[in-house]
Structure formats: structure tokens, C-alpha cells
């Protein structure tokens, strides 16, 4: 859900209060611009749109500052020329501060307007102006005027006379004519896949297999068809065991494996959708020429591993380079790339021409991770405490608090990790194995094991509590140095704790805004992707919310939800950021209204706007498909190197890697043209 949504109903400027007159002696000595009554009247009916108002103000200021002879020459004749040394009458009452704020609405078009001596405008007349409308008056002021409807005239007006147009009797509104752009997806413009409304690269992903392991796909969506045939070369449903060939998909058999969540269809559309279903393919994906292989997964790690392997096997059979997208994750394991799923991914990516792209996660604002570094060699044993709270929820029909938290410490360290319950009981895992404790109001499950791959320690705690405030709050993790019996205490001292899911609860203190990339995003070979914002408004199918305008979205900035890295081993994750906050892509016709409510569905098109690192990952998947079309034998290491080298930096990012942005914003055009030896 968005943090804020509202109808885009422009608040009339008439209802805005004019700035209060400044107080003090200087203000008192300053002549009033207009009587208060005129101020009220003018601000209630601002006839010039904000861009024109600022433009006219600047013209008036320039005329005032210009030498007298020049002023006479430039100001023209009539009423406007007499008043040229001051602001046009219709503008005088509008506070300059407000003018300048409004002018910032569209800096580009504003500069365009102010660069012109004659400004194209649309003039709306009121019904009271009669059949002739404002045409006669306008003809005296404008260099050119043409009626385009009963109440609207398009005209070209000298910049210095905009105020005169607004002052004409019968004029209701004067609006700047601004140049619109082809409505290609904003994300493509930001990622420099498009320049001036057209693709800036020749690659389309042709000959590359894009794998989507997700909630399935609406195979009937026109974005996944070419010349009336499906572009999906294989669709496997792990939830039922079904597998569909292209002929079966074209025959409609894949309807038995619908994408009821809509997630996989949207993801596939971003990576490789063709943009079909609209007259203009404005919502085509990044690699619209790629082939698609889709696995509808159970989301169990074993099935995900099998799904990725299946796609790469298929690519090998077809002798195609391949990129697999995983817009999924979780907070199990060591967050260091050592889980078996992640090592499977590493192994599968080893041959050239293969990559796996993973979303960083959407826990950027969560309190899932807490950590510290205990100092080495302190005089007294060091101790760290992190408090927890459980979130009440329904599990198996019962209201309860249920939380799993894992504490990871380095193999070099001798640390004791203890769970303290709200009533002060202490639960410490055994040296090896697990123990359970059952109380009347809660139960705990504690375990300790040494991770086979890294040798680090994992202390896992499961907590169940009745859904009562006294038992949901007041839990603590206590980590202490163990220096008894020749033990060394903290050598490295790094301590990390993760709650498995933000629906379970949160840390109350000790939490960080780092180390929130989950698995398999921490896989060594995976390209892990953060999200930034490129869209904040669209026209929706929801009659109650026909225009969604999310004012809180800060375009081009990192998404609030994008999970920051690094990994537990301080490896750089994520690698890159891509558009992921409100991307328009294919809408599954099978998606329920619960999964994709009307307000995210676009008006008049089989497309929807969604956000998440789930959306930014397939953007990079598509970009890598373009890269593999160009150079099919690239190894993932080289793909990552080029991604890092080609990233775009701006005022939101930093010059080098950082834990939220990775190396910066993806620049598709540069990725494809970068000198391989650079």
C-alpha cells in the first residue's frame, strides 16, 4: 500500500491565502501593491496558469530593468505598454513567493517558455462572453489566434502582453501550451533505455532466454505474444507438476496454471514484455525480443533451486544465454551467501552466458536486523542487549505472537547468547542441538549449531506467546563474552540478529538500517537490485480514485522500502539500483482484486502499476538479456563489472558503492556501449 494516496484534484489557487504582509518598519513604509479587496479578487480568479504568470512577471521585470529606449521599443503599444514597467495588473496581487514556487512545477517547460518572445497559449472564454467569445479582444493583443472549440482559442501572444490577455473581458483562463512527450514508460527514460521517446539501443534480447521463477504468468496477455503466438517457450507449474509447451500455451492449456497473484506476470512484463494490448507499446519491457521460460513456484527454497536449474537446463538445450529473475526472498540463514540455495545459484551460474538477478528486498524501513561489534580486548567481559516485541497475529486459527530470530556470531568468537522472557527467565541454547521450554503463557525453542560452510555460530530462538501485551513485549536477546575456562571472548566481535519476517515482530532497540538484504540476494554470483522511484501518478480503474497521485513519492530517490546491504561478511550488496517504485507492466487477467486492487490497475489497458524491489530486479534482468544478446559468452563476474562501471550517479547517489544504492542507477545505454577493457 502506498504511504499516501489522494485524488489529483488541483486545489484552486483561489482558495489559497495570499502571503501575509510582512511586519515591521520596512513593511510599513512600503506602498501596498493593491487594496485588500483587489488582492482577494485576483487570487480567487487567477486567469494565467502558474507557468505563464511567472513568465509574465519575468517579462515585466526585464522591461522595468531595461534602459528607457529599449523599454519603449520592447513594450509595444496600448494599455500594456503603459503598465510595462510594473507587473501586469492581473499578476500584481499574486505573491511573488507563490509565483516562484509554482514556476518550479515544471522547470524545463518554464525555461522553454521564458526563452520565447511569443508564447503559445490556450485561452478559455466564459459563457458570458457570447458567440464571438474573446476573439475580437484577443486579435488586438495576439500575433495569431485560432478558435478550436466553442470556448477555446489557441493563440500566440507576446510574452510582455500575457497580462493583457488575462485582463480581457470574458477570459476565464489562459494556459501555456507545453510540449508533451510520447508517454513511454518513465522508468525507461530514467534508466536511459529511451532517449527522446525511442529506444536508444538496438538490442531487444533476441536469442536470449529470460527465466521468471515467480507466482506464474498470465500466458494470454498480449505482451507475451508475437505474431499471434506465445513467446513463452516453457511454462512449468511446480504447484501442480504441470508443464506446458508453446503449442499447449497457444491452445489455452496454461489457463489451468493461472497467476492469481499477478506478481509473476508483472515481473515478466518488466523484463521482457512486448507491450501488446495498446495501440502504442508504451509499456513494453526492457527486452521485448527475448524468449521467456516461466516457473510457477511454491516459493520453497528447494523448489526455487529446482526451478532455476530447470530454466538453465532449458537454455542449455536451446543453446541460448540465459538470465533468471528471482523477485523473492526471506531472512533465513546466515546472510552471507552460504545457504545451499545460494550456493546452488553460484554453481548454476558458473558457465558463461548465465546470470541470476535477485531483488534486494523490501525491508528498508523495518526493524528486522540488530547488530553490534563487541570490542576486542576490553578489560571486562562485554555485553550487548537487544529488546524485541512480538506482533500479534492469527496462526493456525489462534491469535498469538510467534517469532523466530537467529543470532549469528563469528567462528573465532566465544560468545554466550541468551533469550530473556518478560518474566525474567533466561533461556540459553545448549552447546549443540536444541531445547524446548513450555510455560503456561509462552513457549520457547532454542538451538545452537555451527554452520557447516562458514563455521560460524547460529543461535536460533523460536518464541510463542499468548496475544497479551505483557507477553508480547519485554523479550530480550543478551550476548555476552565468554572468557571462562580459557575461552577467548570476542576476537572479531561481530554480532548480527535477524527476525525471520517483519510480520512476526521487531527489535525495539539495537536495530540498524543495514544488513537487510535477504537470501538469496546475498548469493555471491547474484546481481542484487535495489529500487528507486520513477513514477507517482497514473489513471486507475477505481471509480473512487480515478487518478492516483502519490505526493509522498520522491522521484529519482531511493525507495523507502529498498533493503540496504551489505552482507554479514560485509560484501557489497546490492550491486545496482533500478526503477522499481511504481512501474507499469502487464496485468494478469487472473489476478484477484485482493491481490491487485482497482487503484493499481490502469484505465483502459491490461496493465498495472506496482512497486517493490520485485519490480527493479526484472529491469536489470532485461538489461542483462540485452547485454547477452550483444555478447552471449559473458561470465556473471564480467556482467557485474560492467554494471558497476556503467552506473549513473546523480544528486541522490554517491560516487562509489553504498549500502542503499549499490554502485548507482542502472544506465542501460552505457551498459551496452561501455568499453570492455575499461
Amino acid at each position: 500500500m502506498p504511504t499516501r494516496r489522494k485524488r489529483r484534484v488541483a486545489k484552486p489557487a483561489a482558495r489559497r491565502r495570499p502571503s501575509r504582509a510582512p511586519a515591521g518598519p520596512a513593511a510599513a513604509s512600503r506602498p501596498a501593491v493593491e487594496p485588500p479587496a483587489a488582492v482577494t479578487a485576483a487570487t480567487r480568479m487567477p486567469k494565467l496558469d502558474p507557468r505563464l504568470a511567472a513568465c509574465a512577471f519575468r517579462a515585466a521585470r526585464e522591461a522595468r530593468l531595461a534602459p528607457a529606449a529599449t523599454r519603449r521599443g520592447a513594450a509595444g503599444t496600448g494599455a500594456a505598454s503603459r503598465g510595462a514597467a510594473t507587473a501586469p495588473r492581473s499578476l500584481r496581487a499574486v505573491p511573488i513567493g507563490l509565483q516562484s514556487i509554482r514556476a518550479q512545477l515544471s522547470p524545463t517547460s518554464q525555461r522553454d517558455l521564458e526563452a520565447r518572445d511569443v508564447v503559445p497559449v490556450l485561452v478559455e472564454s466564459s459563457a458570458a462572453s457570447g458567440r464571438g467569445g474573446v476573439g475580437a479582444g484577443l486579435a488586438r493583443v495576439a500575433t495569431e489566434a485560432r478558435r478550436v472549440s466553442r470556448s477555446t482559442v489557441v493563440a500566440r501572444v507576446p510574452r510582455t502582453r500575457l497580462g493583457d490577455v488575462a485582463a480581457l473581458a470574458g477570459v476565464r483562463r489562459v494556459e501555456a501550451s507545453v510540449r508533451l512527450r510520447p508517454r513511454v514508460d518513465l522508468a525507461h527514460a530514467s534508466a536511459l533505455l529511451f532517449h527522446g521517446g525511442a529506444r536508444s539501443v538496438s538490442q531487444t534480447g533476441a536469442g536470449v532466454l529470460v527465466g521468471i521463477v515467480d507466482t506464474g504468468i498470465d500466458a494470454t496477455h498480449p505482451g507475451f505474444q508475437a505474431d499471434g503466438q506465445t513467446r513463452i517457450v516453457r511454462y512449468v507449474d511446480q504447484t501442480t507438476g504441470a508443464s506446458y509447451s508453446p503449442a499447449q500455451i497457444d491452445g489455452g492449456a496454461a489457463a489451468a496454471s493461472p497467476d492469481e497473484e499477478g506478481h509473476g506476470t508483472h515481473v515478466a512484463g518488466i523484463a521482457a514484455g512486448g507491450g501488446g494490448g495498446l495501440a502504442v507499446q508504451r509499456y513494453a519491457g526492457v527486452a521485448p525480443g527475448a524468449d521467456l521460460a516461466v516457473v510457477k513456484t511454491t516459493f520453497d527454497t528447494a523448489d526455487i533451486a529446482a526451478g532455476v536449474a530447470l530454466v538453465f537446463d532449458l537454455a542449455a538445450q536451446r543453446d541460448q544465454p540465459c538470465v533468471v529473475n528471482l523477485s523473492l526472498g526471506g531472512h533465513w540463514g546466515g546472510h552471507d551467501g552460504s545457504s545451499l540455495l545460494e550456493r546452488v545459484i553460484d554453481e548454476l551460474c558458473e558457465p558463461p552466458g548465465r546470470a541470476v538477478v535477485v531483488s534486494a528486498g523490501n525491508e528498508g524501513g523495518s526493524r528486522l536486523h540488530a547488530g553490534t561489534r563487541l570490542p576486542y580486548g576490553a578489560d571486562t567481559p562485554q555485553r550487548w542487549v537487544a529488546d524485541l516485541e512480538l506482533s500479534p497475529r492469527i496462526v493456525q486459527g489462534t491469535a498469538m505472537g510467534l517469532l523466530w530470530v537467529s543470532v549469528w556470531t563469528q567462528r573465532e568468537d566465544d560468545l554466550l547468547v541468551t533469550l530473556r522472557s518478560p518474566n525474567g527467565e533466561l533461556f540459553r541454547p545448549p552447546r549443540s542441538g536444541r531445547q524446548e521450554a513450555d510455560r503456561s503463557r509462552f513457549a520457547v525453542d532454542v538451538s545452537h549449531q555451527v554452520a557447516a560452510y562458514s563455521g560460524d555460530n547460529e543461535f536460533a530462538f523460536g518464541v510463542f506467546a499468548v496475544a497479551e501485551p505483557d507477553w508480547l513485549h519485554g523479550w530480550s536477546l543478551i550476548v555476552e563474552e565468554d572468557r571462562a575456562q580459557g575461552r577467548h571472548g570476542a576476537q572479531v566481535g561481530a554480532v548480527h540478529a535477524w527476525i525471520a519476517d517483519e510480520a512476526m515482530g521487531a527489535f525495539v532497540n539495537g536495530y540498524t538500517r543495514s544488513h537487510l538484504v535477504g537470501m538469496p540476494g546475498t548469493a555471491y554470483s547474484a546481481v542484487t537490485v535495489a529500487s528507486y522511484a520513477t513514477r507517482k501518478a497514473w489513471e486507475s480503474q477505481d471509480p473512487a480514485l480515478p487518478v492516483v497521485d502519490l505526493a509522498a513519492v520522491n522521484l529519482e530517490d531511493i525507495s523507502y522500502f529498498s533493503s540496504p546491504g551489505p552482507t554479514r561478511e560485509e560484501q557489497n550488496k546490492p550491486e545496482v539500483a533500478a526503477p522499481g517504485q511504481w512501474l507499469v507492466s502487464a496485468l494478469s487477467a487472473q489476478a484477484s482484486a485482493d491481490a491487485l486492487p482497482l487503484w493499481v490497475r490502469l484505465q483502459g489497458a491490461p496493465y498495472a502499476a506496482l512497486q517493490g524491489t520485485s519490480m527493479s530486479a526484472p529491469y536489470v534482468t532485461g538489461a542483462l538479456a540485452l547485454l547477452l544478446e550483444k555478447d552471449p559468452a559473458l561470465h556473471w563476474g564480467e556482467m557485474k563489472r560492467r554494471l558497476a562501471k556503467s552506473c549513473r550517479a546523480d544528486r541522490f547517489t554517491t560516487p562509489s558503492w553504498n549500502q542503499r544504492w549499490g554502485h548507482g542507477k542502472i544506465d542501460v545505454e552505457r551498459l551496452l556501449t561501455i568499453d570492455p577493457t575499461a
Partner: protein
């Protein structure tokens, strides 16, 4: 409450199934070969879905997980946990 807190906790433990098929990824010592090890682990009840290098993806009855872990050819067993699509929840 019909079930004890401990039962509820056990039921919600990630990757823990007291019985019934459990998804697993198993890292093995591939001697003499992964296929040979997979065949032997099949006798332990492991249903092999796929081998990927020295790893086997499959399912096994939760009650036999301990036997699987104890096999000398097995280096690591990771029980399958449920991940989720990356959509913001707020």
C-alpha cells in the same frame, strides 16, 4: 486453545516437519559420484528431484531427516523454507 504452545511453536518452526514430505537441499561428498550417492540416499527415503553439481534437491519424510543428516556421504542438509515475493507490505 486446543493445542499446547509447544505444539504451535513446533508447527510453525521453519523447515521442520515432524512427518510428511519435507523439501531439502543436500550437499554431499560425491564419491564415487553424485548419482551413486543419490541412489543410496534414495534408500533412506530421499526422493531425488534433481542433482546440481554436488548438491541434491529433493524431498524426504520429516521423520527421516535425522537419518539423512547422519549419513557419512552427507555434508549438509538444508530443509526448505518458504520465501515470499518482494512486495512492500506497508
Amino acid at each position: 486453545m486446543n493445542r499446547s504452545p509447544r505444539d504451535l511453536l513446533r508447527g510453525a518452526r521453519p523447515g521442520s516437519a515432524a512427518s510428511g514430505p519435507t523439501g531439502v537441499i543436500v550437499a554431499v561428498r560425491p564419491e564415487p559420484s553424485v548419482e551413486a550417492v543419490a541412489a543410496r540416499l534414495h534408500d533412506l527415503g530421499l526422493v531425488v528431484e534433481r542433482t546440481i553439481g554436488d548438491k541434491i534437491v529433493g524431498t524426504i519424510d520429516g521423520a527421516r531427516l535425522a537419518d539423512l543428516r547422519a549419513d557419512p556421504a552427507v555434508r549438509e542438509v538444508e530443509t526448505s523454507v518458504r520465501l515470499h515475493p518482494h512486495e512492500p507490505r506497508s
